[in-house]
């Protein structure tokens, strides 16, 4: 595969973004349909090239493209290039295929938006950044892509920036992920500092020509506590991007963005970048036992933590957002146990079925004008296609065979089961509880949205019967209707993938694992016991959801009483937002630290006072000296004489006269 073709994977969407932003929008207006053509065309090219790359990796396993020096300072040479291996190829296919389908869907969803071209500009830019991130063969280039996806995420969450909640959500997402990125940056710095002195640091991930590169030699070169800290820094960056506890709070708020954005960025690709990052650096984590355990525990805890909040949300997108956080937790759990294959297999399947669920929720919003499930209901009769695909996505998410979610979740359960020991047991229990909750919340959402009677949609909301604030997208569905074909077809394709994406890792062929074999993945035996436990947990969850919500009752009064404290805790998201905004930001940062800094800087504090004191000192000194400088020649002479006397006296005393 020629080098230019691989670079074109990145360059095509970038060109589309530049073209849209600099040419189409100014010349053809903000709603020109050319924006759609350019973006879809470019991403289509990237998709085709990605398939080609996949076929190349299939035969060659790893292709390291030439590295080009862009910066040279003394010994340090920064050479950037692209790397094609199994991990990259899988991510390429996921990103480009989901992106392509989402772009097509967006044409229906964003048709009436006044910033249509801006939307496609950002989407193309995001796709390009994400592809840079996965293709980079240099940690620095990877970091550039990493920050660019964060920027695009910010721009797209705040796409409807005139709404204060969207602007706030964008800011929150950016700041919290930046907080994680800070530690990632420190990890990069740590690699620079701890790298063995006899070889120059190149930051290349894989470079056959260099004496040492990060992936092959990094784990051996960087050892001990330093390596653990570096791994934890990488994990902190990943946790920020992938919304893992305790940096998860931004993702539910990020649902303020347009729904296709949520599907692409906040379900399928960008949030999976954290998983990709840890998977990429798994050779380093292999040598850092403590860091791996922490990754697994954060993942396992997040699974249950996020899923429990998904149980009580009334906003369908927030349910899906917590679901995403929870499912990403599964991936980190697997990575923490060193299981690259299952983690990526779940990432692969999850990308499709979660994007499908998000697009389904967008379709529902398109019809009803709201995201509040309390105002929906009964939509399966008017939206049979959306209902069908949402149902498939839900089954897949709940881990019911033969849908794809079952196969990957089963593998992760199996890993935890066979890992054994205290850690394995804890993680297995967390994963099973998570599986139960997952099935329960997604079927609760399904029943609330599609079953029972229609409860009025946006019109109802306008009358103020609900306290929901999630009325977006400036769409008005007086009577719900099925979405246009341009939206249904991408969903249908994703539904097919949600059923069948596991086929590539069919137990008899396991192509997927073969692709990752050079990176250390190995075929996981199907284990009946954990799979059965997981399945029973899933079915139990579906059963409970059916019992409580199938009748069309929005809430079950018989249990809501005794469970009120729990429900309240969950609805308030474990008070994490209050903790961050109220306690940390307001009480600690604002009331203490910033107030202290303000005092420190003020007239009464240190900085300004020091400056003022210095100024006053000069002024007062001048005042004193001014008495002498009164323009009187005699005064000048007096001073002169005194000076002369002093000099002579000094000469006599110290100069050793005589």
């Amino acid at each position: 595969m020629p080098e230019a073709a691989v670079w074109l994977i990145i360059a095509a969407p970038l060109a589309a973004a530049v073209f849209n932003g600099l040419i189409i929008r100014p010349l053809f207006g903000p709603v020109s349909r050319i924006g759609f053509d350019a973006t879809v065309g470019a991403i289509g090219i990237s998709f085709m090239l990605s398939l080609w790359a996949l076929s190349v990796v299939w035969t060659d396993q790893e292709v390291v493209l030439p590295l080009h020096e862009i910066i040279r300072v003394d010994e340090f040479s920064l050479r950037i290039g692209l790397l094609l291996d199994g991990l990259t190829a899988i991510m390429l296919v996921v990103v480009t295929s989901v992106s392509l389908l989402v772009q097509i869907y967006s044409h229906g969803y964003m048709k009436e938006d006044r910033s249509y071209v801006r939307y496609y500009t950002f989407m193309a830019m995001f796709t390009s950044a994400m592809l840079t991130l996965v293709l980079a063969n240099n940690l620095i280039l990877l970091f550039v892509g990493w920050e660019l996806v964060g920027l695009c995420s910010y721009l797209l969450i705040g796409f409807w920036f005139t709404r204060p909640s969207a602007a706030a959500a964008a800011k929150k997402a950016f700041i919290i992920t930046r907080f994680g990125d800070l530690f990632f940056l420190l990890a990069i710095l740590g690699i620079f500092l701890l790298w063995p002195e006899d070889t120059p640091v190149t930051f290349a991930l894989s470079d056959p020509n260099a004496p040492m590169d990060l992936l092959r030699a990094g784990g051996a070169a960087l050892t001990g506590t330093g390596l653990t800290l570096i791994c934890l820094g990488i994990m902190a960056g990943a946790a920020g991007k992938s919304a893992q506890f305790p940096l998860h709070t931004w993702l539910p708020d990020a649902m303020e963005g347009p729904t296709p954005v949520s599907a692409l960025i906040h379900a399928a690709t960008m949030v999976a970048a954290g998983v990709f990052l840890v998977a990429r650096f798994l050779p380093l984590f292999e040598e850092a036992e403590t860091a791996r355990t922490i990754v697994a525990l954060i993942g396992g805890f997040t699974v249950v933590f996020a899923a429990s909040m998904g149980l009580v949300m009334n906003d369908i997108k927030r349910v899906l957002a917590y679901s995403t956080v929870s499912q990403l937790g599964y991936m980190f759990l697997a990575l923490g146990l060193g299981a690259l294959g299952p983690a990526l297999f779940h990432l692969f399947n999850h990308a499709f079925f979660k994007a499908l669920l998000f697009l389904g929720s967008g379709s529902v919003n398109h019809a009803t004008g709201t995201f509040d499930m309390r105002l929906m209901g009964g939509l399966r009769r008017v939206m049979p296609w959306t209902y069908g695909v949402f149902f498939i996505g839900s089954l897949s998410l709940a881990g019911i065979p033969p849908f794809s979610g079952f196969w990957s979740k089963d593998e992760i359960l199996g890993i935890a089961w066979s890992y054994g020991g205290t850690l394995g047991t804890i993680l297995f229990v967390l994963a099973v509880v998570g599986a139960f909750m997952t099935a329960a919340y997604i079927f609760r959402a399904l029943f609330m949205t599609f079953h029972g009677k229609y409860r009025g949609g946006e019109a109802q909301e306008a009358h103020g019967t609900a306290d929901a604030h999630e009325t977006h997208d400036e769409r008005h569905g007086a009577t719900p209707h099925e979405s246009p074909w341009v939206m249904v077809i991408p969903m249908a394709i994703l539904a097919v993938l949600a059923i069948g994406s596991w086929f590539i890792n069919f137990p008899a062929t396991h192509w997927f694992t073969d692709l990752l074999k050079p990176l250390g993945a190995h075929v996981e035996e199907i284990q009946i016991v954990p799979a059965a436990i997981g399945l029973v947990a899933g079915l139990l969850g579906i059963g409970i959801a059916t019992a409580l919500y199938r009748g069309g009752a929005v809430s079950a009064p018989s249990i809501s009483g005794p469970l009120a404290p729990v429900t309240n805790l969950l609805t308030r998201k474990y008070y994490m937002d209050e903790l961050y905004e109220g306690v940390i930001v307001r009480s600690v940062l604002y009331e203490r630290l910033w107030r202290f800094l303000a005092w420190f800087d003020s007239d009464k504090g240190v900085v300004d006072r020091a400056v003022n004191t210095l100024g006053l000192f000069g002024r007062n000194l001048g005042k004193g000296i001014r008495v002498v400088e009164n323009g009187q020649l005699q005064m000048s002479l007096t001073v002169l004489s005194i000076g002369a006397v002093i000099i002579v006296a000094a000469y006599v005393v110290w100069g050793g006269v005589g």
């Binding site: 400088e629 009164n630 323009g631 009187q632 020649l633 005699q634 000048s636 002479l637 007096t638 004489s641």
Partner: protein, 103 residues
């Protein structure tokens, strides 16, 4: 110590110079200041002539210096009095404290 030595001349010279200096610094009348300056110059002259007289080599430089200083002092007094007359004509005072345009 019945004969006059160099130190006696130098003490006289320093005394004259000090009296002149105090006059220059303390007096307010410019005419008196000019006179004090003459006193200081003459103090210097005494020192120069004494050094010349007591020098081991028989040289006349000290005397010549003194004569030059007397000449310059005469010229200086002429110019000083001329300036003083001009100031008096313009400002109607010869009080040094009033002449503070250097401020």
């Amino acid at each position: 110590m019945d004969t006059l030595a160099l130190e006696h001349y130098l003490l006289l010279s320093a005394g004259l110079f000090a009296v002149g200096l105090v006059g220059v610094l303390a007096k307010r009348n410019v005419i008196v200041i000019l006179m004090s300056i003459e006193l200081m110059l003459n103090g210097v002259n005494v020192a120069l002539v004494a050094f010349s007289r007591y020098s081991p080599v028989d040289e006349l430089e000290g005397h010549i210096f003194a004569i030059f200083i007397i000449t310059v002092a005469a010229a200086e007094v002429a110019i000083g009095l001329a300036i003083l007359l001009t100031i008096f004509a313009r400002r109607n005072t010869v009080d040094a404290a009033e002449i503070n345009l250097l401020k």
